[in-house]
Amino acid sequence: MSTLDFPPRMSFLTLENVAIGFGPENQRVNVLEDVNLSVRENEFVAVIGFSGAGKSTLVSLLAGLERPTAGKVTMAGEEVVRPGPRRGVMFQSYSLLPWLSVAGNIELAVKQVFPGKSKAEVKEHVERYIEMVHLTPAKDKKPHELSGGMRQRVSLARTLSMQPEVLLLDEPLSALDALTRAVLQDEILQIWEQEKKTVVLITNDVDEAILMADRIIPLTMGPRATLAEAFPVTLERPRDRRTLTDNPDYQHLKTEITSYLVRLNREARAARGGSIIQMPDVAPRDFTPPSKIRGLKWKNTA
């Protein structure tokens, strides 16, 4: 496609001095303020931040679901004024329609985004993405019959099935066990590489960010959060998660990011006026109860 003929656009998805707040104007406190971001085409960016900092709000802005109160969001040079299937969002809350089955949820998206597809093509397309997230056995189940992790995978499959140019993934793998998570991380990376997509990944897992992203951008603590200086990840791709932990560059980067985040947290608390209470550096000596108590039978009264 065009991406083969032209070099990737340098600032494909941008935020320019963006601010956003909620509530009535006179008592509004901005959740995000002075946010600048420029994502290259085909770049993989990870945004990392604390809970409540404004990560989901950032995704809404990028998607066009929320309009900024100041500044501008653009994609490929055009201002983003409303959401659309070019920027596929995977919602943190999964947002599955409870009355539709797994296949039905994905089919709704596929039919809408690819109106030209025949019935058989739609079916084939839906099944491919269900298979990708390993949910074929559950394809006729309703969301309430699925586990949290399974729902998250359905949501991911729905977003991927739209084949958007930009993937906005809001903590897409947070509810999964380590094994499934690893498999899906690889899956996302593969799609990103093969189909030349631009990805903004929201996460609170530093390992995941380092494994996947080209750049890791911390979001400072809210209110009035903003994007901090990015940490470029220069590790060679493909990154092998088994050997990565032994890599000194990886270890260095991880320490750097972690300590940055810890510092952010401390500063934010200090800014709020809370003093930092240092815990005494002691460990409990003995935690075995005396023999008298041990001899008693504990009744569960609950």
Binding site: V89, L97, W99, Q112
Partner: protein, 537 residues
């Protein structure tokens, strides 16, 4: 096993949860626990119901009314049989009237045989009744005699005592001519004493009279049973007389044959008439007779309304009203849920009209509907509805329409409010999905909004149907439109003890149908709710 879970699921969806321990017990799952559950959810309700029946049968006869004693469960059960027999007989007559040829003659033969049988049966039943009455009369007399004697004796004694007292006082009065005022005062006191004595006697007499009356109230089950048998047989005889008539000389076939013969006769008279006869008159006769033949051939037995038929009509009416209400309430509810402005515009109407009683709506609606149909028989709507296959048999008239509209007006509010609520509660996250996908207005409506609202819409429909059923019976009583309500009204006007019992039958029928309608709606409600929780409703 698979099968068992299917049954359990079905039970759960239909809300008949009390059956699930039975199924589980049958498959040997935790028998002790299931028996306990059966005890609680099946045996206890049955015991409670039996206790209720017992209490009813004890208390009811204690209260006397214009229409006799309040009927006991046994009497009500009897009345149910009476209602059913009436229905059966009328249906048979209806069918008999239309029979032709061999079938008719066969049926006629059978009916005649039954009539012969009936003669013997009736004679025997009457004998038994006479015997029972004779034996019970003896018992009755034996039971009543002591209290009667006590009462009669006491009455005689009291009469005598009064006479003696009066004479004594009169004699005293005759000697008062020259008495002092003190002596006269004493006489007055004697008069007072006499009055008091009379009063006391009257009181004790009343007591004896009550005891006598009480002794008379005794009933003898064997006489009662014998009398019932006689009544039932008499009813059957009455029916058979009519039935034989319908199968014989008064059958449609016989009448048609007769009319045909007459038409032929007139025709040949006309064709063969001499020149000096009045051909105009003869010709008109031919036409008249032919017309008569046609109406006879198309005639039907004028079947009276029986309760089962009235029930079906009531159901048709309530469903018509319910459908009308749904067609109005769901779209308006959706608009309300979608647009706050529309909601604001609608709120006052809902608040104002929702509490209005059906008894206010009905007369207004009847007048308005009547205004549209000055000549109801020939109004296009009535004619059209009369041609609808099943509906046509149930006499669709302006009263039916008014009742249905009243039902709709009273029941639509629940659906409207619930629909608005359901539509208004669409998840913002789901809307965001729709926005990202750029779903159009109609797609959003049918793929996101309505599915979200469906459980609440059905909850509203369920309430509406329940309200509609209650409103309908009231509306029928007021409008005397054929149906269950009309039946109650007729029974009330009738005022016999039999019809009093039949009103009790209606209570159970109305209750049962209402319950069935509710259960049906529960099933629908559960089928559309996407997170069917296994709770009892």
């Amino acid at each position: 096993m698979e099968f068992k879970y299917k049954i359990l699921k079905g039970i759960d969806i239909s809300g008949l949860n009390f059956l699930s321990p039975v199924v589980r017990l049958a498959t040997g799952e935790e028998p002790a626990k299931q028996l306990r559950e059966i005890g609680r959810f099946i045996v206890v309700p049955i015991i409670a119901f039996l206790a209720f029946l017992w209490l009813w049968s004890v208390v009811a006869p204690k209260h006397k009314t214009k229409a006799g004693e309040v009927p006991t469960p046994a009497v009500v059960w009897d009345a149910t049989g009476g209602i059913w027999r009436f229905h059966e007989y009328e249906t048979q007559k209806d069918q008999a009237y239309q029979l032709t040829g061999g079938t008719r003659l066969d049926t006629l033969g059978k009916a005649k045989a039954r009539m012969a049988e009936l003669d013997a049966l009736e004679a025997r039943a009457k004998e038994q009744l006479a015997a029972a009455e004779a034996s019970s009369k003896e018992k009755f007399d034996a039971r009543v005699a002591p209290s009667k004697k006590a009462y009669d004796d006491a009455r005689e004694a009291s009469k005598d005592a009064r006479r003696t007292r009066t004479e004594a006082l009169k004699a005293e009065a005759a000697q008062l001519a020259g008495a002092t005022p003190e002596q006269r005062e004493t006489f007055l006191n004697h008069l007072r004493d006499a009055d008091a004595a009379a009063e006391a006697e009257k009181k004790s007499l009343d007591g004896l009279k009550a005891a006598y009356a009480d002794a008379q109230t005794v009933t003898f089950p064997e006489t009662k049973d014998a009398r019932r048998t006689v009544t039932v047989l008499a009813e059957e005889r009455q029916f058979l007389v009519k039935y034989l008539d319908m199968l014989g000389d008064n059958s449609r076939e016989a009448k048609v044959a007769d009319a045909k013969a007459k038409a032929e006769e007139a025709r040949s008279a006309f064709l063969n008439a001499g020149p000096d006869e009045d051909l105009y008159k003869l010709g008109s006769t031919v036409l008249k007779r032919q017309e008569l033949l046609a109406t006879t051939a198309a005639s039907q037995y004028a079947k009276p309304w029986t309760l089962p038929k009235q029930i079906v009509r009531s159901l048709l009416c309530v469903f018509s009203g319910f459908l009308l209400a749904s067609f109005i309430a769901i779209p308006i509810g959706i608009l309300c849920g979608l647009s706050p402005t529309f909601m604001a515009a609608t709120t006052p109407f809902v608040a104002l009209f929702k509490p209005v009683s059906p008894l206010v709506w009905l007369p207004i609606i009847m007048i308005i509907v009547g205004g549209f149909m000055p000549d109801p028989e020939n109004h296009w709507l009535i004619v059209l509805l009369g041609k609808v296959p099943f509906l046509g048999n149930y006499k669709i008239d302006p009263m039916f329409l008014s009742s249905a509209i009243t039902v709709a007006l009273c029941s639509l509010w629940a659906t409207l409010v619930n629909t608005a609520l359901g539509v208004g509660s669409v998840d913002k996250d789901h809307m965001n999905v729709a926005r990202v996908l750029r779903l159009g207005f109609w797609s959003r409506l049918f793929k996101i909004v309505i599915p979200t609202a469906l459980p609440l819409i059905f909850a509203g429909l369920r309430i509406s149907l329940g309200v509609g059923w209650m409103v309908l019976v009231a509306a029928e009583i007021l409008s005397t439109s054929e149906g269950i309500g009309k039946f109650v009204n007729d029974m009330y006007t009738n005022g016999s003890s039999q019809s009093f019992a039949q009103m009790f039958v209606v209570v159970f029928i109305v209750g049962f149908i209402g319950m069935a309608l509710d259960r049906i709606m529960v099933v629908f409600q559960r089928l559309v709710s996407f997170e069917t929780a296994g709770s009892t409703l």
